[in-house]
């Protein structure tokens, strides 16, 4: 066991202070330390994107980032998207277009989409497919996911 490191983050707007082991992954920090289990561990090898969260507004794979690397950062997870009972527009579009089957990839897909639409507010279908290449849906439900992202973008415009 190596020396713990003190980190301070903001997770979905709430300040956090913890001592963590340096090898603690960001996804474990979020799930096991902060207690937010909406972020999933899928492949655990930075391929599938189920663990995608936003760090300072940009999508990252939290299974391939150390909690100590997020020190001082603002982190957003799927739990932070909705306002009370009101779904985030991307969540609403996913529901409207039935953009999920088993749902395991969904929190990662949502967070990757939020980041993508910040970078490309009016994406083409190709932009969406390329922009979500880091997120796998093993139900292969890509068609409806792409439709939902395009609809969410159109709603924002």
């Amino acid at each position: 066991m190596s020396a713990p490191v003190q980190i301070e983050t903001t997770v979905n707007g709430a300040p956090q202070h913890q001592d963590v082991e340096p090898r603690l992954l960001l996804v474990q920090y979020l799930r096991d330390v902060v207690g937010l289990t909406g972020t999933k561990i899928g492949c655990d090898t930075s391929s599938c994107g189920a663990c995608t969260v936003l760090v300072d507004g940009e999508s990252v794979k939290s299974c391939t980032m150390l909690a100590v690397q997020a020190d001082g950062s603002s982190i957003s997870t799927v739990e932070g998207l909705a306002s009370g009972d009101e779904l985030h527009p991307v969540q609403a579009a996913f529901r409207e277009h039935h953009a999920l089957q088993c749902g395991f990839c969904t929190s990662g897909m949502l967070m990757a989409t939020v980041s993508l639409l910040e970078e490309i507010p009016n994406p083409s279908e190709r932009d969406v497919r390329l922009g979500l290449e880091g997120n796998l849906c093993r139900c292969t439900g890509y068609h409806n996911i792409v439709q939902a992202v395009l609809a969410a973008a159109a709603d924002r415009a």
């Binding site: 340096p22 090898r23 090898t45 940009e58 150390l66």
Partner: protein, 273 residues
Amino acid sequence: MIPAPFDYVRAGSAEEAIAALGEHGDDAKLLAGGMSLLPLMKFRLATPAVLVDVGRLRDLSYVRDAGDHLAVGALTRHRDLETSELLARQCGSLRAVAAEVGDNQVRHRGTIGGSVAHGDPASDLPALLLALDATFVIRGTGGDRTAEARDFFHGFLETALEPDELLTEIRVPKLPGAGYSYQKFNRRAQDWATVGAIAVRNGETRVALVNMASTPVRATGVEEALAGGASPAEAAERAAEGTEPPGDLNATPEYREHLARVLVRRALEAASR
């Protein structure tokens, strides 16, 4: 999967990082974005006793016009390369190849210096930098030295970097208006290249290959043929000359040789348009 335990040192400057490397020697590894190192550590293929985090050295993140060349800070993220207006005007190939690395999430974290220092022959940017005849600036305890890209990649994950040195800057030529193309073949969108071929055309044509040997390599046979007046299709037939492609689950060496010839032809044709 969880990495083996290690001690964590956050460097506040390049000098602090180099001092920490000097103190811990071969037991220490530099951590930039971590997109290559952390997976290796999770698989326990790498078990450094000390990680020296240089990821917060913002003064090593830049793309600058340095007069006769462009200077790129080693900690510049792929995302910053693919959105750089200066690169769009002066070195479009670097911007285009950076946009082919991994996926959005990887490009938000990964850095050009990390990719170069890791020395993986399947990486996209090292092959491009070889084609561009880039120069690397390396800082150690005795100050800065430079290394040419053609002398830098020594073998699989082996480079000219000493254990107590830090790559600080990548220098690339200004090539406004140069033609270029990166043809990357893989089985899934975000995968490493099974084989990649890069052509940069600025008067003469330079060609480099991804994942065709234990290091990125120039396709010298192709370059010679083109200089001698061969057509792209004729020159591309020499793409696999002198290579030693690996065999793995994705491709046999023979298939990689075939891919190299096809991808080089496509890259040459696209770079000529």
